[in-house]
């Protein structure tokens, strides 16, 4: 049997059902690997005791079922992004302002995971309030990517894992969580998946409940899984998704059997390749990977169609009005009165101002200020309303092309992982990381990043498949074929085990 931390959900499910391994064994192996990986700073809170108790309960349920039906994730150890509220377990959103916050309730998504039998290993580090593309804005410090540059360019510098779900991606890539929850507002699942050689899916807006997920930009936020394979991803999304009356934007749609969509057959599917995603100065290796992906799908019998999404270049500027505007409103609740940090002042206003000055980091402050500005009297029409109109044009672009094609293939990110500190001084160059992912958030569409190759420096690169709303099945079907063609088996060396 392979080392227990090296197997994925599907394989673990088989071993568990045959009784060849217990959830306690699986869970303990991951908790131990997690403790050995503390130098990566991927976790804000580790919960090994709770994990062991949940695993033991899972093993007992399985024994009781006596070979009968068990939950879809029965006994599977997961890491949870620290944006999901977990009952009585510290939930920080990577921010100082949520110091000590222990929610007295459970988010719908995590509740569904526990009901499906999953086990919680701990809470993962992330960019503060999910605002960032490198995990460097966390109050708890940056996460280190398990991957390092190899060959001539290799200098052992620590790289970012991407963000905002950098801790989740690192826990999965570093083999100390079998899979992890994540969230994606502009690319925060797909870009870190691309940077760490993992599979990350942002489903259709409304597929997973946002109830109990700390809000960043409510019209864009969506939860999804980060896993080691497309099959694992489909299994886990099935357990996370579903209608929730507690979220008024939750879609009242049946959840299909995503795993059954992995037929391995894409013959006759039309795959769009958008010309606007060819960027000036795009690294040659990204362009080459994209061409490789096109070739794989052609070989598998799909038809490639050149398409145009004419408003693509306006997606990021529109996003950087809409997301900060929604954030400035959502983050108004952090006022030092009801939960988290409080810094006293001589009167109520000063207490608010002192609390929020101390509690928010530089990037969060920047976005709250931008959001406040674009919503303020005299600027609302010029900025916020304008951005909402451009958002409609971007959405319409997709509706038009989905008349002609079944799905779209693009790179996931414009580069491989970069070094810690390399981009943190220039907000706009950091924002450009999401250039390929952000349109799917504005239009509410599902997208997945799968590891498809290595850069010249030996770092993972991802390809992204986008599909029409509520057609994750086609997305998974294509991702499965790409995964098989890419046969991506590279893994980072576990250098951190000796570094601690």
């Amino acid at each position: 049997m392979a080392e227990l931390t090296e197997i994925g959900i599907a394989e673990a499910r088989d071993l568990l059902s045959k009784g060849e391994v217990s959830s306690v064994e699986l869970t303990t192996a991951h908790s131990v690997a997690m403790a050995e990986a503390q130098s990566l700073n991927a976790m804000i809170t580790e919960t090994p005791a709770q994990a062991k108790a949940m695993a033991a309960a899972s093993d007992a349920r399985r024994a009781q079922a006596d070979g009968g039906e068990v939950g879809a994730l029965e006994g599977i150890p997961l890491a949870i992004k620290d944006l999901f509220c977990t009952n009585d377990v510290l939930t920080t959103a990577g921010s100082h302002i949520l110091d000590g916050f222990k929610p007295p309730y459970e988010s719908t998504v995590t509740d569904k995971l526990w009901k499906a039998g999953a086990v919680m290993l701990g809470k993962t580090n992330m960019d503060e309030f999910a605002m960032g593309s490198s995990n460097e804005t966390s109050y708890y410090g940056p996460v280190h990517n398990p991957w390092r540059r190899q060959g001539d360019g290799g200098d052992n510098r620590n790289l970012v894992p991407g963000g905002s779900s950098g801790g989740s991606a690192t826990a999965v890539a570093g083999r100390f969580a079998m899979a992890a929850t994540a969230t994606d507002t502009g690319g925060s699942i797909r870009q870190p998946a691309s940077f760490t050689g993992t599979v990350g899916c942002k489903p259709t807006y409304g597929r997973c409940s946002r109830w109990g997920v700390v809000a960043f930009a409510s019209s864009l936020d969506q939860a999804g899984p980060i896993t080691r394979s497309v099959r694992d991803n489909a299994i886990m999304l099935g357990a996370m998704a579903g209608y929730d009356p507690k979220d008024s934007t939750s879609a009242n749609k049946a959840v299909p059997d995503f795993e059954a969509a992995l037929t391995g057959d894409v013959r006759g599917l039309k795959i769009g390749v958008p010309k606007e995603f060819v960027l000036d100065g795009m690294p040659v290796e990204i362009e080459a990977l994209w061409q490789q992906g096109i070739g794989w799908l052609k070989d598998a019998g799909a038809e490639i169609v050149d398409i145009s999404l004419p408003h693509t270049k306006y997606a990021l500027p529109a996003y950087y009005i809409i997301a900060p505007a929604e954030a400035s409103s959502n983050l108004a609740r952090y006022d030092g009165v009801r939960f988290g940090l409080r810094v006293d002042g001589s009167d109520l206003t000063e207490m608010y101002e002192n609390t929020r000055a101390a509690g928010f980091g530089a990037e969060v402050r920047r976005r709250v200020l931008i959001g406040t500005y674009v919503l303020s009297a005299g600027y609302y029409d010029a900025y916020y309303l304008k951005a909402q109109k451009v958002r409609r044009l971007i959405t319409q672009d997709f509706r038009d092309v989905y008349e002609q094609v079944d799905a779209i293939l693009t790179p996931s990110a414009p580069s491989a992982a970069f070094a810690i500190g390399e981009k943190s001084d220039d907000p706009i160059s950091m924002y450009l990381n999401d250039v390929f992912t952000v349109t799917a958030n504005l239009a509410g569409l599902p997208g997945i990043s799968i590891p498809a190759g290595l850069s010249d420096e030996g770092l993972p690169l991802g390809l992204q498949v986008l599909a029409p709303a509520f057609d994750e099945e086609t997305m998974y079907r294509i991702a499965g074929v790409l995964e098989e063609a890419a046969a991506f088996t590279a893994q980072p060396e576990k250098w951190w085990r000796s570094a601690s």
Binding site: P104, T249, P317, V337, F339, D344, L369, T372, K386
Partner: protein, 99 residues
């Protein structure tokens, strides 16, 4: 569009974030850089385009007007950073607002 120090001070107050005098100038430069980059949206003709607030076409659902939760006062105040000075744990507290 660029913003000046006075504008940054005004929006920081609107957002209730204390910003030191020495931080206003660098923040004005940062925010101006971002706003200038955003200006490219003006290239897009949106004269006849209705704004889009949500990807949902349909109206938001109504829920039944019934009590379906509650009686959790202790849970509600459990995370309050300034424990209730009266000692019964029943209230959020703030600095004195009314003289």
């Amino acid at each position: 569009m660029s913003v000046d120090k006075a504008t940054v001070a005004r929006i920081a107050h609107l957002a209730r974030i204390g910003v030191g005098e020495d931080e206003l100038e660098p923040l004005a430069a940062e925010l101006s850089g971002i706003l200038n980059w955003i200006e490219q949206l003006n290239e897009v003709d949106t004269e006849t385009v209705p704004p889009m607030a949500s990807v949902h076409d349909e109206a938001l659902r109504w829920r039944a007007d019934v009590i379906n939760d509650g009686g959790k006062q202790a849970d509600v105040v459990a995370n309050a950073p300034d424990g209730d000075n009266d000692g019964d744990g029943a209230f959020f507290t703030v600095p004195k607002v009314i003289e």
